[in-house]
Amino acid sequence: MAGKPLVQMKNITKRFGGVTALQDVNLEAYAGEVLAIVGDNGAGKSTLIKILTGVYQASEGEIFLDGKPLEMGSHSDAIDVGIDAVYQTLALADHLTPANNMFLGNELTKTVMGIKVLDNKRMKSEATRVLDERLGVRLRSMDVQTDSLSGGQRQAVAIARAVYHEDLRLLVMDEPTAALGPQETARTLKLIKALREQGLAVILISHSLDDVFEVSDRVHVQRRGRAVGVVKTAESSVQEVLGLIVGAQDAAA
């Protein structure tokens, strides 16, 4: 990968009481690249991205953004510097419209007679614009409840929430295809590719190596809290990555 990394995690260690969840992990993410993080349950994937998105704080180690050290005390600190995540549960409120979900917790407002009120019209038009222009998704209607959308469309709404921030630079996606059928999975992977083309750094956590090999540029393998290897997707194989995950190729790493 040419150029300097957008985000660098250096020698990250995280302990929960006496349990070491992460040991000395290094990770680099580049703009315009999809980095997949794979590993068995309990390998430290979630802990790693929670540190990256400011939910947890590392016990040791440092995070750099554009080469400058980063101090994050909470998830909103991460959002402020352009790092956001789309969680597996998507964090959507099913009874709200897609637009209202996209702006949930961060509503656009206008001032009417000195009172700050919601600007529902602008939220709807902005949501339509972001879904269409950035994600290539057009909903049949923007006035439906979010629970009437398909799994892929719901995913798009959750992603739209993150990419609406103009200064978003790194998007972490936690198991985006876990609950989707084959068609919806294909659509979501297309979305991820679109985000990469727009110059975003994308980190994809997935259990599906098919998905990983379809969209990622590099694969970061975690095992038992350690980074056991980073391979270029184009130069690797499912067997090699699988070997790293279960530990058959320790020597190679």
Binding site: H75, S76, Y87, T89, L90, A91, L92, A93, D94, H95, L96, N100, L104, G105, N106, E107, V117, L118, N120, R140, S141, D143, V144, Q145, S148, R161
Partner: protein, 375 residues
């Protein structure tokens, strides 16, 4: 593929109807009452003075139904509003009669005290994690008890004109003052629900508390807001009731809880949270008042009101639940469910229970002696 397409189209029609469903339901029932009364008792039911009476009765419940819409939409419930209304009314009455407070101070004071009682409810639910059902039910006892402690058995009566104006004043050639107050609170509620952060978060909290938490919404704070609004509106109803009767006692307003919850639920606000309809709540309040008035007009015994309210609550909740279910998993036929083995067992069990009941009644009738009291 063809099946999938029809499926989609069907959903669009449902989607389009869905927002209005909440309002259509009670409107249909209102028209049914109008039609029935138009045949049964048109002369007395449609008299202008009677329509005024219906509105006057409905007005009392409008502020509470507005606030309850927020509480229920957040997956909450408040069973203490009758007592809050009574206690606030009593406190206001004492301030005016005992301590000589001017009414224009005592009235806002009463509403603020109601808000504080709502705050206590909210804190008990969010801080002490007492489930809303238990928490507000227990506080209902507390507030009612305090009202009894303060007022003893007294009936406080004869209040300044300002208060009776609020309770039963009439704007000449127009609607009563309390109706104006009621409709105003409803309009404010509609505005708050659709145009403010509070309204938006109310829906999102009821829809998914976890998602709301994850998007950074202060869930507990907004829950407390709803209970404070509820308390203030219950106190306002207490003020309006005091003015309407020109009297208040500790046992006033015993039926507020269920009446208000019924109106809101009949109006299509979901007890499972996330689905709110302010217009539906207004329609629900009108429906209940019209129904009760109709029962009175038909000279049906007062105690049947309680039966009618209960039946309306159960049937409307069941109807909304059924409609939503049909919407989701395509279960079209009610009768299809009766053929499962589980249903068969349930039918046998019910038959056994009813059979036992009939048997015991028969035995009792067989052994019955002359019931004329001997002493």
């Amino acid at each position: 593929m063809a099946a999938a397409t029809t499926n989609l189209q069907e959903r669009t029609i449902m989607d389009r109807l869905e927002p209005y469903l909440a309002f259509i339901g009670p409107m249909v029932m209102i028209f049914a009452i109008l039609l029935f009364m138009g045949i049964a008792e048109p002369a007395r039911y449609f008299r202008l003075s009677n329509l005024n009476l219906i509105l006057l009765d409905a007005a009392l419940y409008m502020p509470m139904a507005m606030a309850m819409t927020f509480v229920i939409t957040q997956r909450g419930i408040d069973l203490s509003i009758g007592s809050i209304a009574a206690l606030s009314g009593i406190l206001m009455a004492f301030l005016i009669k005992q301590y000589g407070f001017p009414a224009y101070i005592a009235i806002p004071l009463a509403i603020l005290m109601g808000a504080v009682m709502g705050l206590i409810n909210g804190l008990i639910i969010t801080r002490f994690k007492v489930p809303d059902l238990i928490g507000t039910l227990a506080m209902d006892l507390v507030y009612r008890g305090l009202a009894l402690v303060i007022a003893k058995g007294l009936v406080l009566a004869r209040f300044p004109d300002l208060l009776t104006d609020i309770g039963r004043g009439q704007i000449p050639g127009f609607i009563p003052v309390p109706v104006v107050i009621g409709l105003l609170t409803m309009a404010l509620g509609y505005w708050a629900l659709t145009q403010t952060h509070f309204g938006r978060y109310t829906i999102s909290i009821g829809s998914s508390p976890e998602s709301s938490e994850m998007t950074g919404i202060a869930v507990d704070r907004h829950k407390i807001y709803a209970y404070v609004l509820m308390g203030a509106c219950a106190a306002l109803a207490g003020v309006m009731l005091t003015g309407k009767l020109n009297a208040i006692q500790a046992t006033s307003a015993p039926y507020f809880n269920l009446h208000v919850i019924a109106a809101v639920v009949v109006g299509g606000t979901s007890l499972f949270g996330g689905r709110a309809s302010m217009l539906g709540s207004l329609a629900g309040v009108l429906l209940l008042s019209m129904m009760i008035n109709a029962l009175v007009t038909l000279r049906i015994e007062f105690f049947w009101q309680s039966v009618a309210s209960g039946v309306v609550i159960v049937s409307s909740v069941a109807l909304y639940t059924w409609m939503q279910k049909k919407d989701r998993d395509g279960a079209r036929s009610l009768l299809a469910g009766l053929r499962t083995t589980e249903a068969q067992k349930m039918i046998k069990f019910s038959a056994l229970l009813i059979g036992l009941l009939i048997l015991l009644l028969a035995v009792g009738a067989g052994l019955a002696t002359d019931p004329t009291p001997s002493g």
